[in-house]
Every structure is written in structure tokens, then in C-alpha cells.
């Protein structure tokens, strides 16, 4: 819904921002042609998952936290497992680590295909939603659904279920899949990789607003491969720290208008996690096929245009399909499927890359294995202040747009970061006030 006019005092309101999850409001004020205020007002009820975890056993955390989000349950499971294993001083075996990475690739494929095709692409093609997009380009939507289905297949085969996998436990898995069952995924993954390459070509042809952000990128980084569930946390400027050190310097604060916490580095600087950050810190470690696709799409080593995050996501789709294919071809069933993890008193931190950004878990557990404290930093909470900065930039460079076009651009700017409000506890209506 849009009110107002293009000059003088005016108000633009969007009561509901589609294609993001949760409840909240976005408010933009423009006075005398200058943007004076951009705020995300988040009023979805807080979910109290951290309190729910206190008093539960340490090995329940992966399954409980997986329920925070139906889109990225693996991310929650993996960060929880890593945190608990950190607390108990356990490093899992190479086969467990590889199978975890494979499961995580399934989630990336599933989530990125959903976002690129069904949530984000309609913005660039003037469609209200994926249904309208199917009306003008059914083949594209079919391709997206097929990619998502391949991700689901992978989740099903490794995790036991396509949504909220049940096979993950602290130390590994309840059961390692049969070798043949995973090898059978090779052919679907080859087709998915081809579809992902076509995806990069498709989205690279979209028109992108000429906007660049001065982002402080934060992402996992690893010397040997593109990061998914391991490595250190790379900070703006290039230094890397452990997940535990990062949890110390990423300070969260409560803001009255929001039920989500807002994170700042060392209490001062907003930062950005997610595909743009991962790509900026790790583009050189993409496999050759994904690097070539990125280059052909016109991406440099770093991409600072938030609207082009759809291209980076598509490149990551190529990576995830290619990596999953490599892993299923190398897979041999192993037993036992999990390493023994004995509880011991301590604090552990785990950080992994959810499709939409860095997800950090920290737990304190007692010698009896009971969780004494829990802290979860979802990517959307970490990104909120940067999304506000993005919106300010988008509004400032789009003041001559009609209210309707500006509203569309703002919604698109939020979706650039694929926010998951249920994860953040949190999100979205849009109000633009021009005066």
C-alpha cells in the first residue's frame, strides 16, 4: 500500500513485506529530500529458545535448535554439534566431517534454490511472486523446483528427512547411509550442477541497480576449501579468529523497538554475514567450475552490490552441487556412525555457515551434561543493522523514484539478504515517511 506523493512531505507504507518470514515493520523517513531515519521495527514475539535449552541435556541441543527454522535446520544442528564437541574437547573423524558437509550442501541447495527462484528472482522480473513468474517463465520455475528437490533428496538420504533431519547427533550420525544410496545421488547432482550453471547465466542477465555497500564482511574462512561448517571467522580487514573469540567480540544489544538482538563488532560496528561475505573472503577457494561461472557472470573477487547477491547465491549453488557430487562419489559407509562424546564441564562455541550467513552457538554445560547457559546468534540478527544501512543507501539513491517504485526497491533491498525472521525471532512491514 502506498500513500503520498513524490515531493514535499510524504509517507509510503507497505503493511506487509512479502517473501520474507515473520512479523515486523520497516520505517523510512525522508525530510526535505534527505533520509533522516531508517529503522527495522521487529515485533514478532521472541522465541526464548535459549531459555528452553537451559536444563536440557547437551545432546538434545541439535534436535531442539533445529526446530528454530524449517529452512535451515541443518545449520542449527551443525552449529550446536560443533559447540558441544568444542565444550567436550572432541574433534570428529574425517568420515563424519565429510558426511556433515554433504548434508549441509543439501541445505544450501534447497535454501538457495528457494530464494533465488521463488523469492528473489520475481523482484527482478517485475513479478509479484513465483506464481506470476511461472506464468512468464515456467521453465525457470521448474528448474528451481528441480534444484530444490535435489537438495531435498540429499537431506532425505543423509538426514533421514528432507525437513528437520533426524539423523544428526553430537559426535556424528545415528546411522551412516548405505554407500549405494548416496552414490545413486550422483546423477541427480550432475543434473543439478548443470541447472545451477544455467541459473548463474540466467540471473547474471538481470538488471541491477548501481548501488554498492561499504560492508564489513564476516564469514568463516578455511585455507583449503570454500567454508561451510569449519574454519575460522574472517573479520573485516582479513584477520581471522576462532569461533569462541568471535563470540566474545560480537556484542549483542537489545533495542527497544525490536525483539531481536542487534549485533556489532566490539560493540561499535555493524557487519554483514552471508553469501556476499563468504564470497569476499573465499572466492579464490571456490572450485574451478564455480570460479569460471562467477567470472563469466562478471563477478570480481569481491561483490559489494547487494542486489547482485542473487548472482553470488547462484555461484554458491554451483559450488554446493559440485561439492556434494564430489562427496557422494568419494563416500564409503562407515561404522560407527558417531564418535563418542562424553560430557564434561565447560563452555563450547560452534560457528557454521547457514545459507543466509554465519550462525554461532555457545553453550555452557555442567559435568552432568546439563546445559547451564545457551547463546544463539542467527545471521539475520547479525545482519539487521547492515540491512538498515543498505536501505538508507537505497533510499538516498532512489529519491527520484515514485513511491511505488521506491517501495518495491526497498522490499527488494531487504530480500537481498534473505532474512529469516523466525531465526532472528523477528520481522516486516514497510513505512516510508517523506516530509
Amino acid at each position: 500500500m502506498t500513500h503520498g506523493h513524490r515531493s514535499g512531505n510524504r509517507t509510503v507504507e507497505v503493511p506487509g513485506l512479502a517473501r520474507v518470514e515473520g512479523e515486523g515493520a520497516l520505517r523510512v523517513e525522508i525530510r526535505d529530500g534527505a533520509v533522516t531515519e531508517v529503522t527495522l521495527d521487529i515485533f514478532e514475539p521472541p522465541r526464548f529458545f535459549e531459555a528452553l535449552l537451559e536444563g536440557r541435556r547437551f545432546d538434545e541441543a541439535p534436535d531442539i535448535t533445529a526446530r528454530i527454522c524449517g529452512i535451515c535446520p541443518v545449520a542449527y544442528q551443525m552449529s550446536a554439534c560443533r559447540a558441544m564437541e568444542d565444550a567436550c574437547a572432541v574433534t570428529v573423524s574425517a568420515p563424519v566431517a565429510a558426511l556433515r558437509r554433504l548434508l549441509y550442501c543439501g541445505e544450501w541447495i534447497q535454501s538457495h534454490a528457494l530464494h533465488v527462484y521463488l523469492l528473489h528472482a520475481p523482484d527482478f522480473l517485475g513479478c509479484q511472486d513465483a506464481v506470476e513468474l511461472a506464468g512468464i517463465d515456467r521453465a525457470a520455475v521448474e528448474r528451481g523446483l528441480e534444484l530444490k528437490r535435489t537438495g531435498n533428496q540429499l537431506m532425505q538420504a543423509v538426514g533421514g528427512r528432507a525437513v528437520h533431519p533426524v539423523n544428526v547427533r553430537v559426535g556424528g550420525f545415528y546411522r551412516a547411509p548405505d554407500t549405494a544410496a548416496l552414490r545413486a545421488l550422483a546423477e541427480p547432482l550432475r543434473r543439478a550442477r548443470d541447472a545451477a550453471l544455467r541459473t548463474v547465466e540466467w540471473v547474471a542477465g538481470f538488471e541491477f541497480p548501481d548501488v554498492e555497500g561499504d560492508y564489513r564482511f564476516v564469514a568463516l574462512t578455511h585455507p583449503d576449501h570454500y567454508p561451510v561448517d569449519d574454519g575460522q571467522v574472517a573479520l573485516p580487514g582479513g584477520d581471522a579468529v576462532s569461533a569462541a573469540q568471535f563470540a566474545d567480540i560480537a556484542v549483542e544489544e537489545h533495542v527497544e523497538r525490536s525483539t531481536a538482538l542487534h549485533a556489532r563488532l566490539e560493540g561499535r560496528h555493524p557487519y554483514l554475514t552471508g553469501p556476499l561475505a563468504r564470497y569476499a573472503h573465499n572466492s579464490a577457494r571456490l572450485p574451478e567450475l564455480a570460479r569460471q561461472a562467477a567470472a563469466a557472470a562478471g563477478l570480481g573477487e569481491v561483490c559489494r552490490n547487494p542486489f547482485q547477491s542473487i548472482v553470488v547465491r547462484a555461484v554458491e549453488l554451483v559450488f554446493a552441487c559440485d561439492e556434494a557430487l564430489r562427496l557422494v562419489e568419494a563416500y564409503e559407509r562407515f561404522d560407527p556412525a558417531a564418535d563418542v562424546v562424553d560430557a564434561r564441564e565447560g563452555v563450547g562455541t560452534g560457528a557454521t555457515e547457514a545459507p543466509r550467513g554465519l550462525l554461532v552457538h555457545r553453550y555452557g554445560i555442567g559435568a552432568d551434561g546439563v546445559i547451564r547457559s545457551a547463546r544463539i546468534m542467527p545471521p539475520t540478527s547479525q545482519n539487521q543493522l547492515t540491512i538498515e544501512e543498505d536501505l538508507r543507501r537505497v533510499v538516498e539513491t532512489g529519491l527520484d523514484l515514485s513511491d511505488e517504485d521506491l517501495t518495491w526497491r526497498c522490499e527488494q533491498a531487504v530480500r537481498n539478504h534473505d532474512p529469516c525472521i523466525s531465526c532472528a525471532a523477528h520481522f516486516l512491514d514497510l513505512t516510508v515517511v517523506r516530509s
Binding site: 506487509g16 512479502a18 517473501r19 520474507v20 518470514e21 522465541r47 526464548f48 529458545f49 528452553l52 531442539i64 526446530r67 524449517g70 529452512i71 528457494l114 530464494h115 521463488l118 523469492l119 511472486d129 513465483a130 506464481v131 511461472a134 506464468g135 515456467r138 520455475v141 521448474e142 523446483l145 530444490k148 528437490r149 531435498n152 528432507a162 525437513v163 528437520h164 529469516c420 523466525s422
Partner: protein
């Protein structure tokens, strides 16, 4: 030609009454096994948190029954049955985004129709929830309604089963 019925649970067992879809599908699953016959297949699937995951399991089914908790203001445990129509179905289906990342069951059905993969008929069986707080286990009224909802699901399944 085989008639195929898919009974799909939606929801989250860790949000109390939102787990009622899973409870109903668990209750009917053994009976679906008994109803299977040459030319007739019936399967329970889910629970799904993302309605888009209905695409695939329900493609081209003769009947898809989607079971989920609802919140309409009725007394907890009230069972409602809503026919969402077939491939060309009613456009009265809510177009608003309502669920995970933008597509609810209605949106998933519209998308399935747009790509030619919709079931012949989709019926939603809703059970009014009372407690959507964190945790497992249904509230008493909703737990009592599982039997009635399961009976309504089975009536729908039998309605498309060819006579033995």
C-alpha cells in the same frame, strides 16, 4: 489406472498444538496401509515445515489431504474441513504470504497449479489449536480431537478408493 492419495502433515511438533498434523497422520498411517490395494495407493508424509515441500510428494495425486493446526478463533479441538479444489481450483484461495519464507499451503497449491503439478483435488483438514508455545505434546482439547480428525481424513481417503 492407480488412484493415489497423499495425506500430508504440516507443522512443528516442538510447538505443542502445531504438532497435531503429525499426530493425525501417525494415527491414520496403519489404516492407510490396510486400505492399499491394486489400483489404489495411500501414503502419509510429513510433517513439513515448508509448504513448498508438498510439491513433489503430492504431484498429480488423485487426492491430497493436508492436515494442520489452524487458528480461526473457534474452540481448541474444533475440526474444520476445507476443499481447496483441483488443478484449476478456486482463486478464492488466500494470495497473501502466510508461512515460511512467503508461501503457505495456498501459495504452494497456486504454484503447483502454475507448473501443472497440482493434485486433482486438495482438501485441508484443520484442527483448531490452543497452545502454540515451545515444547512437545498437545493440549488436552486438541489431543482429544485427533481421533475425529483422523476419522475425517479416512472418510476422504475412502471416498476415492475403488470398491474392492
Amino acid at each position: 489406472m492407480t488412484a493415489r492419495v497423499v495425506v500430508a502433515a504440516m507443522g512443528n511438533e516442538y510447538r505443542r498444538d502445531d504438532g497435531v498434523g503429525a499426530a493425525v497422520v501417525a494415527a491414520v498411517a496403519p489404516l492407510l496401509d490396510e486400505l492399499r490395494a491394486p489400483g489404489f495407493d495411500a501414503t502419509g508424509v510429513g510433517p513439513f515445515g515448508d509448504p513448498l515441500d508438498l510439491l513433489g510428494p503430492w504431484d498429480h495425486a488423485t487426492l491430497a489431504v493436508v492436515v494442520d493446526a489452524v487458528r480461526t478463533g473457534a474452540a481448541p479441538g474444533t475440526v474444520v474441513v476445507v476443499d481447496l479444489g483441483g488443478p484449476g481450483g478456486s482463486e478464492a484461495v488466500d494470495r497473501r504470504a502466510s508461512s515460511t519464507h512467503g508461501l503457505g499451503v495456498a501459495g504452494a497449491l497456486r504454484l503447483a497449479r502454475a507448473v501443472g503439478r497440482a493434485p486433482d483435488r486438495v482438501v485441508a483438514v484443520g484442527i483448531e489449536g490452543g497452545d502454540f508455545g515451545n515444547g512437545t505434546g498437545l493440549s488436552e482439547a486438541v489431543d482429544r480431537a485427533v481421533g475425529e480428525a483422523a476419522a475425517r481424513v479416512l472418510d476422504l481417503v475412502r471416498s476415492v478408493r475403488p470398491c474392492a
